[in-house]
């Protein structure tokens, strides 16, 4: 017989193993794609790899008009940055408004969340129809931008609500009694304290917009975003070049995540957000 502490550590090992299996399940496909993207010029999209080379990355770089991924990549990046910035501003404002407990804030909350619940294809399609009726030209930097913000905003909003939920409002009040106006108190006290949440909202905005397919499908007009371009290429011909695209963007995402993780870590070292405050 083992004691309950022994069983506890056994449980820990089992759950740990399951977690590792899950992480492998999550990451191995991407790793496989990454590996295949380095296959030789005659290589296919499945194993075995025919030699190793950077051929498909070179292909990616000197692309023809037909399969050039660079313009969609630039569009998607710009779109994601714009969505990220918009999400940050609007979600901080909306969460601040929720703190004020205005009349109908419950309805506002649920309407915001509707953006998460509503199926993307329908939202995109409905939006495209409405724009057509209104005579608005569809384009990735106007219509797609709008419809994507309606998707990314609720995530940023929820993030900011959670952050403000454990925010000690006495700290703001202390600043007011020390002579800070509301704007100064927000700039000097509130914003620095919720900055990790703001960055989180921004990351949501970026990553959700960057790989959004359903909402972009009907709304981009003639110039496609990266997910649409990849999808179109898949329809035409399947080469490891697609894998090279995936690997490249994953690589840049990892760098971005790493950067923000480091920033978080540095900030946590200098600020302890977890205050010993109740209520």
């Amino acid at each position: 017989m083992i004691g309950w502490k022994g069983r506890l550590s056994l449980t820990g090992w089992i759950l740990g193993a399951i977690t590792l299996v899950f992480l492998a399940y999550q990451w191995l496909p991407i790793f496989t794609l990454g590996l295949l993207s380095f296959s030789g010029p005659t290589g296919g999209t499945t194993f075995p790899m025919n030699g190793t080379s950077l051929h498909w990355y070179e292909e990616l770089w000197r692309a023809t008009v037909m399969n050039d991924f660079k313009p969609p990549l630039v569009r998607s990046s710009l779109l994601a940055l714009a969505c990220s910035a918009t999400t940050i501003v609007l979600s901080v404002m909306a969460a601040q408004a929720m703190r004020g407990q205005f009349r109908g804030n419950g309805w506002f909350f649920y309407l915001m969340l509707l953006g998460i619940m509503a199926p993307g294809i329908l939202v995109g399609f409905g939006f495209a129809i409405m724009m057509r009726l209104m005579g608005v030209e569809l384009s990735w930097d106007t219509t797609t931008f709008l419809v994507q913000v309606s998707w990314t905003l609720p995530f940023g909003f929820l993030t900011m609500l959670a952050v403000f939920n454990r925010f000690d409002k006495k700290v703001e009040e202390a600043a007011l009694t020390l002579g800070a106006s509301r704007l100064t108190a927000f700039r000097r006290i509130t914003l620095p304290l919720v900055l990790p949440g703001v960055i989180g909202a921004g990351l949501f905005g970026f990553s959700l917009s960057y790989d959004e397919y359903a909402r972009s499908m009907f709304t981009t007009g003639p110039d496609a975003t990266l997910p649409l371009a990849v999808m179109a290429q898949l329809d035409r011909q399947l080469t490891p070049e697609i894998y090279a695209v995936g690997t490249t963007t994953t690589f840049f995402s990892l760098i971005a995540v790493l950067f923000f993780t480091l920033a978080f870590w540095a900030m946590r070292r200098s600020t302890s957000l977890r205050r010993s405050s109740s209520a």
Partner: protein, 378 residues
């Protein structure tokens, strides 16, 4: 009354200035949250450099009153005058006040030096002056070694000092303190209380101190304001509140009072004969005397009772002792009255114990020891 501290703007008699300026005046402050009345008709005058304690149970409106003074809440009615100037609608940042919060509300992302200088920064003082004044106040509060630390790495006592330094550095007219030592270890409180009292006397800044702890209120306050259910029950110097509680609530809230409720049976010369569920008692009245048959309450302090009776002790009561607590200077006996209420009897001085738990004893007190309450019998 504080004529010395008053502006020396005189020469001829200045009738407009005849009244000594008050640091704070509250006139009939009212504040409601939906159906809940938090503050109801609170009026208060604080003269220059006064130490005022707002005392009351939680939810009595003392903190809301304080927040109305700070400008963090806007009263629904009434006026707030700070330094004689109308300030009811002024935002907090335009008021000549500072506030210390219960859990100190330090800025977690700023170093001690930075946040102590925050108030001066808001006043747009030059950088060099801020640095110098911060240095000075940190030194005088003996926390200059902590200047570069963040709040998370400070102990409770150190945080309290930082919060105080941050509030005091701009030398406000009034310092508002919301349970300022409630978050400290019990062993620290006595020391900190004494320090704060000395600081207040030295600086001449008016302190308005909110607490539910009567020891704090009575040992610190020049003026103690007892609140209950959004209203002021009584205000006055500590001695007055301890010796002459004005209402049954105050008598019951302040430690060491025995409260009795009954009906006026007879009005004599200077005395009432009051019938209570536990007997008839003589209680002196102050003008105007209550009506015959009206409901009244009165209280007797626990140390005014005795079990060594003489003919002076005209009010007598028999009760069963349930517990004896010994505090060194005082031995407190807890009795149960025949109506189930508690009766307390304090015996001062190191006398030998005379009463043991379970014993039935007759206790008495002289008629003049009882205090009749106003706001009859509620």
């Amino acid at each position: 009354m504080d004529a010395l501290a008053h502006d020396p703007v005189e020469g001829a008699a200045a009738p407009a200035h005849a009244r000594p300026q008050l640091d704070l005046e509250l006139i009939n402050i009212r504040k409601r949250y939906g159906d809940f009345t938090a503050v109801d008709g609170v009026s208060l005058k604080v003269s220059k450099g006064q130490f005022v304690c707002l005392l009351g149970p939680s939810g009595c409106g003392k903190t809301t009153t304080l927040r109305c003074i700070a400008g963090l809440e806007e009263p629904d009615g009434g006026d707030v005058l700070i330094g004689g100037k109308e300030a009811t609608r002024d935002p907090p940042w335009q008021r000549d006040i500072a506030m210390m919060f219960q859990d100190f509300a330090l800025f977690p992302h700023m170093t001690v030096a930075k946040q102590v200088g925050f108030g001066l920064e808001m006043l747009k003082k030059p950088r060099a002056e801020i640095a110098q004044r911060v240095q000075h106040i940190l030194k005088s509060f003996e926390i200059d070694g902590l200047a570069d630390r963040k709040p998370a790495s400070l102990s409770g006592g150190q945080r309290q000092r930082v919060a105080l330094a941050r509030a005091m550095i701009t030398e406000p007219r009034i310092l508002l303190l919301d349970e300022p030592i409630g978050a400290l270890d019990y062993s620290l409180r006595e020391t900190v209380m004494l320090e704060l009292k000395l600081l207040q006397q030295r600086t001449g800044i008016s302190f308005i101190w909110v607490t539910h702890d009567q020891n704090e209120a009575f040992s610190l306050g020049d003026l103690v304001v007892v609140m209950n259910h959004a209203r002021i029950e009584q205000q006055g110097p500590p001695e007055e509140i301890l010796q002459r509680p004005a209402t049954a609530f105050v008598a019951g809230f302040v430690q060491g009072n025995n409260v009795f409720r009954g009906r006026v049976k007879e009005v004599l010369a200077g005395m009432l004969r009051i019938e209570t569920p536990v007997g008839m008692f003589l209680v002196p009245w102050v003008a105007p005397p209550p009506m015959l048959g009206s409901e009244v309450s009165f209280s007797v302090r626990a140390e005014q009772l005795t079990d060594a009776l003489s003919e002076r002790h005209v009010n007598r009561l028999s009760a069963v002792c349930t517990a004896v607590e010994y505090f060194g200077a005082v031995r407190r006996h807890v009795f149960e009255r025949s109506d189930g209420e508690v009766l307390k009897y304090d015996q001062f001085g190191a006398h030998a114990a005379r009463i043991v738990p379970g014993q039935r004893t007759v206790l008495g007190w002289p008629a003049e020891a009882a205090v009749l309450h106003a706001g009859a019998g509620q």
